[in-house]
């Protein structure tokens, strides 16, 4: 039984593992935050933009959503450096996750806005609201509530996808774990441990999402 060895090695490697975990949190939170901001703009453009913009954004979202995240990460890492833009692995990886997130958020927002009955906009107009006021007071509050569960799901997908940054050498949590394994040879134990940590992370995100959902639910 290697459990005592495992605990001893885990304790010994705690600083590296925590540093890796911190990177994972940083990468995920940063990509989700930036990707959501960008995605809201994409969703606005998809919903209300002129035709050429809508077509361009449609291609953007369909392309990004149809490409494996792994390919996006490699593309960001190699293409930008080939183009002379100096992105380090961390930046390239975050960029890929941000773009991926934005395409999903854009599509989610478009869908949510589209699902709001036309009568809502008309009622807002008939009491004299401008388009901007209608959007911020009537459409967005409804769309955001509708989006929340899917958006939380996207956030957990990003956490999982952040493991792929290990391939281009970013020492996030998974790579930190692998480095410990290469010293200790306790692969089963440490991979199980890594799985548990990711599960806890995503479980926490989902529970937080549910709590917010309950808080902002419309009474009925």
């Amino acid at each position: 039984m290697n459990f005592e060895f495992f605990l001893a090695d885990l304790w010994a490697a705690r600083a590296n593992l925590l540093a890796g975990l911190w990177q994972t949190v940083l990468i995920s939170a940063g990509s989700v935050a930036l990707g959501t901001l960008l995605g809201l703009l994409v969703g606005l453009g998809l919903s209300y933009g002129r035709l050429p913009l809508r077509i361009a954004l449609r291609i953007y979202t369909d392309f990004l959503r149809g490409t494996p995240v792994f390919v996006l990460i490699l593309a960001c890492y190699y293409i930008f450096s080939a183009a002379g833009l100096d992105l380090d692995a961390f930046q390239a990886g975050c960029l890929a996750l941000t773009l991926f997130c934005s395409s999903h958020v854009g599509e989610i927002l478009r869908g949510a806005l589209n699902a709001i009955p036309a009568g809502q906009t008309e009622a807002a107009k008939s009491i004299g609201l401008t388009f901007g006021q209608t959007f911020t007071s009537v459409l967005l509050p409804q769309a955001l509530r509708q989006m929340l569960p899917t958006w939380v799901n996207t956030a957990t997908e990003i956490v999982k996808a952040s493991t792929l940054l290990s391939v281009i050498g970013v020492v996030e949590f998974l790579l930190a774990v692998q480095q410990v394994i290469s010293r200790t040879y306790l692969s089963l134990e440490f991979y199980l441990f890594a799985g548990l940590v990711y599960f806890v992370l995503n479980f926490a995100i989902e529970q937080a999402g549910r709590a917010v959902e309950r808080r902002i639910a419309i009474p009925r």
């Binding site: 009955p117 009622a123 807002a124 107009k125 008939s126 009491i127 004299g128 007071s137 419309i218």
Partner: protein
């Protein structure tokens, strides 16, 4: 006296389909005009043009003497900018068949929204106005309820309060009872009748013939995008002058 509403030669098409084929209609302060006519005759479209929810190709609509929606510029007709349109929309209030309350806002917040956003009133003042109108429609006790917690009739009364709290010059009602269960119709009609008694100028589309006869100062019968016959309710219902109106009335008696 300047009419509250003056429509001259209004035409409206959806693509190839001409839905309004030259409507002329004037209303003065305190008039209650009922629009009747079979489904598809253009009643809803007429109201939506007056509320600027539809663009219209030809003709002119004036609210209290102000031409709405368009301006003439060197012989060319131009749609007014968004801000102007929004202001002009607030000169008329509209109650919809499907209520269209904002589901994420409580009853009182529904009524306050236009007051704070369009009229820029401070929240306190808006709340006071909203509560007094909710009281008028018998909904003050449920002011903090959300639309999903209200019956259809209650939602429609809140929706009417929301429109009328903006102090419009003209209220438009588009079949406000036709989405309601039969037992909820009378509470909404009572509110509308009450507003008419108070001197509100109202243009209403209705299928409730007895109600139209009761509340209207004038009844307008529309057929295929035109005003086919109009007059005081006693004449329209008591002595209809055209075969079409007779046929329509005998069909809607059932």
């Amino acid at each position: 006296m300047i009419p509250v509403l003056n429509i001259t030669d209004l035409h409206k098409s959806f693509g190839e389909l001409e839905v309004l084929k030259g409507i002329d209609l004037a209303m003065h302060k305190g008039d209650v005009v009922s629009l009747i006519g079979s489904s598809g005759s253009g009643k809803t479209t007429l109201l939506r043009c007056v509320n600027l929810l539809e663009e219209f190709g030809r003709g002119r609509i004036e609210i209290a003497g102000e031409p709405i929606g368009y301006r003439e510029e060197g012989g060319r007709r131009r749609r007014l900018p968004e801000r102007q349109i929004a202001r002009q929309r607030a000169m008329t209030g509209m109650a919809f068949q499907q209520f269209n309350l904002f589901p994420h806002l409580s009853a009182v917040k529904n009524v306050m929204l236009g007051l704070t956003k369009t009229k820029k009133l401070p929240a306190e003042e808006a709340r006071a106005i909203a509560e007094s109108w909710l009281d008028r429609v018998g909904m003050l006790a449920r002011k903090d309820h959300f639309p999903g917690q209200l019956s259809g009739g209650q939602q429609q009364r809140v929706a009417i309060a929301r429109a009328i709290a903006m102090a419009p010059q003209l209220m438009l009602f588009d079949e406000v009872t036709s989405a309601l269960d039969p037992e909820l119709v009378s509470e909404v009609l009572a509110v509308v009748r009450d507003l008419g008694r108070d001197g509100m100028t109202m243009l209403l589309v209705t299928h409730e013939m007895r109600f139209a006869r009761d509340v209207s100062s004038r009844v307008v019968f529309m057929h295929q995008g035109r005003i086919h016959e109009e007059g005081p309710p006693e004449q329209i219902f008591g002595a209809p002058g055209t075969e079409r109106l007779k046929a329509f009335l005998s069909n809607s008696q059932s």
